[in-house]
């Protein structure tokens, strides 16, 4: 259950439907590097509910065929540059969404129900772009059109969390979408800042913020494993790394150089 990062990502085959969280929730950049190094291809990324550096990097490295997301953004550094370039080049299939639709569809996956309704969406071009979403007449109130979303069941959920124990329990605190991801996905892979000896479920204060081991396939220790992305109060976003990334990602030649250098770095991701 406790493995190294390379073993952790060995469970992510080409073509995997891979759920990843938004930056603020805990992004495993350590596993991302291992995954790109291994040369994974054709991922179907499900961003919960938006993507950041991780998604843009996986796209730029040629690992993703499809992305389902409500946005790809580097925050104040703007739209994910490799994401935008791939869309313009037509090398990436986009399933544009809206945050609550991804959350709700994932909750449907969690509940083992085939679909879930959601308000809003009517009259948007998003709905036109998503033929997999259906509009029905609300059976409880004729004349009330409502959108149904099919459940999202990721093959793998991958994220970074502060703590795990040797039983496989993972503490996520208030980042509750990680629990929904783990419930909905068939398998869950987690990097953590620290693996602790005590049983996290045995502490009645911590237990409410724990994903129990049942849902967790494997865990790898990866201190600073979200860097250069901000992680809780543990570390801030490394703005210089983001600036270097955005500069390199602006053209294909500089991007290749940046990517090769990043993949050669041994330790924690410093971009």
């Amino acid at each position: 259950m406790i493995v190294d990062v390379d073993s952790l990502v060995s469970g992510i085959a080409d073509g995997t439907k891979l759920a990843i969280p938004q930056d603020a929730a805990g992004v495993s950049m350590a596993a991302t590097r291992a995954l790109v190094r291994r040369g994974v291809r054709d991922l179907h990324l499900v961003c919960v509910p938006i993507g950041g550096l991780q998604a843009d990097l996986l796209i730029g490295a040629g690992c993703a065929r499809t992305i389902e997301t409500s946005a790809v953004t580097l925050g104040e550094f703007g739209t994910g540059p490799r994401f935008a370039a791939a869309l313009k080049a037509g090398t990436l299939q986009i399933l544009d969404a809206t945050c609550p639709a991804i959350h709700a569809a994932l909750q449907a996956g969690q509940k083992g129900i085939p679909f879930i309704p959601l308000r809003g969406l009517l009259g948007t071009d998003l709905l036109t772009a998503r033929p997999d979403w259906k509009v029905i007449d609300n059976p409880f109130a004729p004349g009330d059109a409502i959108v149904l979303l099919p459940a999202i069941v990721p093959d793998v959920a991958l994220f970074h969390a502060p703590l795990a124990d040797r039983h496989g329990n993972v503490f996520i605190g208030r980042q509750r979408e990680l629990l929904t991801m783990a419930h909905a996905a068939r398998r869950t892979l987690v990097t953590v800042e620290e693996v602790v000896a005590r049983d996290l479920m045995a502490d009645p204060d911590l237990a409410p913020g724990v994903i129990p081991a049942t849902y967790v396939t494997a865990i790898a220790a990866a201190p600073f494993g979200a860097m250069p992305v901000k992680f809780r109060d543990d570390y801030s976003q490394d703005d210089n790394a983001f600036l270097a990334y955005v500069a390199a990602a602006a053209n294909d030649a500089a991007w290749s150089v940046w990517l090769a250098a990043w993949l050669e770095e041994a330790g924690a991701v410093s971009a």
């Binding site: 739209t79 544009d96 609550p100 948007t124 071009d125 004349g143 629990l179």
Partner: protein
């Protein structure tokens, strides 16, 4: 007129923060989305002025975000009818308050691609007072018709829609949206700007009443609250922005 008016210099950003805070005065619960320092400061200022009655959740904050049910809670809360005001932007905003957060040109191979719809396609329908905020007030942003509708300004009768656009706040002024008539009217122009400047830089027709006031200058007491308490509060989430206040 009788009393001497105390003058305190303020920045354009401070004017915006105070103007938006004023719009939130009678709200019970306001949520501020990601990458929104000015709305964030405005909501925290409104809370400070309200003496703690107003619930504010600033996404991205640890201290000023009370959610314990993950990212979905914002949307559930709005769908429950508990959120009075929310902020949306737009790469493009058009005459009928449709907003585009996706990109220009032929979708999906957009000429310019923006990040994506975020929660707009849902929240625009559900939050009673959506404040459109975009500092850039140009014909590039305020277009006759958006290239992609991330969220429509109005909906056909029968569509479940308790919410929608309420105000549009830009670097030049404040516009109010009339949902029945599907058009914007100019409500105030910020000090230092003119009605003509607004009209010249808006890509669609706007109603202009006979008298358009200036957006009120911030009161000294409110500015003090902003520069002390709110500046310290917003610094947790937006440190560089706080440094400019």
């Amino acid at each position: 007129m009788n009393a001497a008016v105390e003058h305190v210099a303020f920045s354009a950003t401070e004017l915006l923060v105070v103007a938006i805070a004023r719009l939130l005065a009678d709200c019970r619960h306001v949520i501020v989305g990601a990458s929104s320092p000015i709305p964030g400061a405005a909501a925290l200022l409104a809370r400070a002025c309200a003496g703690g009655v107003l619930h504010v959740d600033v996404l991205g904050s640890q201290r000023h975000n009370h959610f314990t049910n993950g990212g979905v809670e914002t949307f559930d809360l709005a769908a429950q009818g508990r959120v009075d005001a929310f902020f949306l932007g737009g790469g493009q905003i058009d005459a009928e308050a449709n907003i585009n957060l996706v990109g220009t040109g032929d979708y999906p191979a957009s000429a310019v691609r923006w990040p994506g719809c975020f929660g707009s396609s849902h929240l625009y329908f559900l939050v009673p007072r959506v404040i459109l905020f975009r500092e850039e007030h140009t014909r590039r942003v305020l277009v006759p018709r958006v290239d992609f509708i991330s969220a429509p300004g109005t909906s056909a009768p029968g569509v479940y829609r308790p919410g929608g656009p309420w105000k549009l706040v830009t670097g030049l002024g404040i516009l109010a949206f009339d949902r029945q008539r599907k058009r914007f009217a100019l409500e105030s122009v910020h000090p230092g700007h003119s009605v003509e400047e607004v009209l010249d830089n808006t890509g669609f027709a706007v109603e202009v009443p006979p008298h358009v006031p200036h957006t009120p200058s911030p009161a000294p007491s409110v500015l003090a609250l902003l520069r002390e308490r709110v500046r310290a509060e917003i610094a947790e989430t937006y440190p560089r922005f706080a440094a400019t206040l």
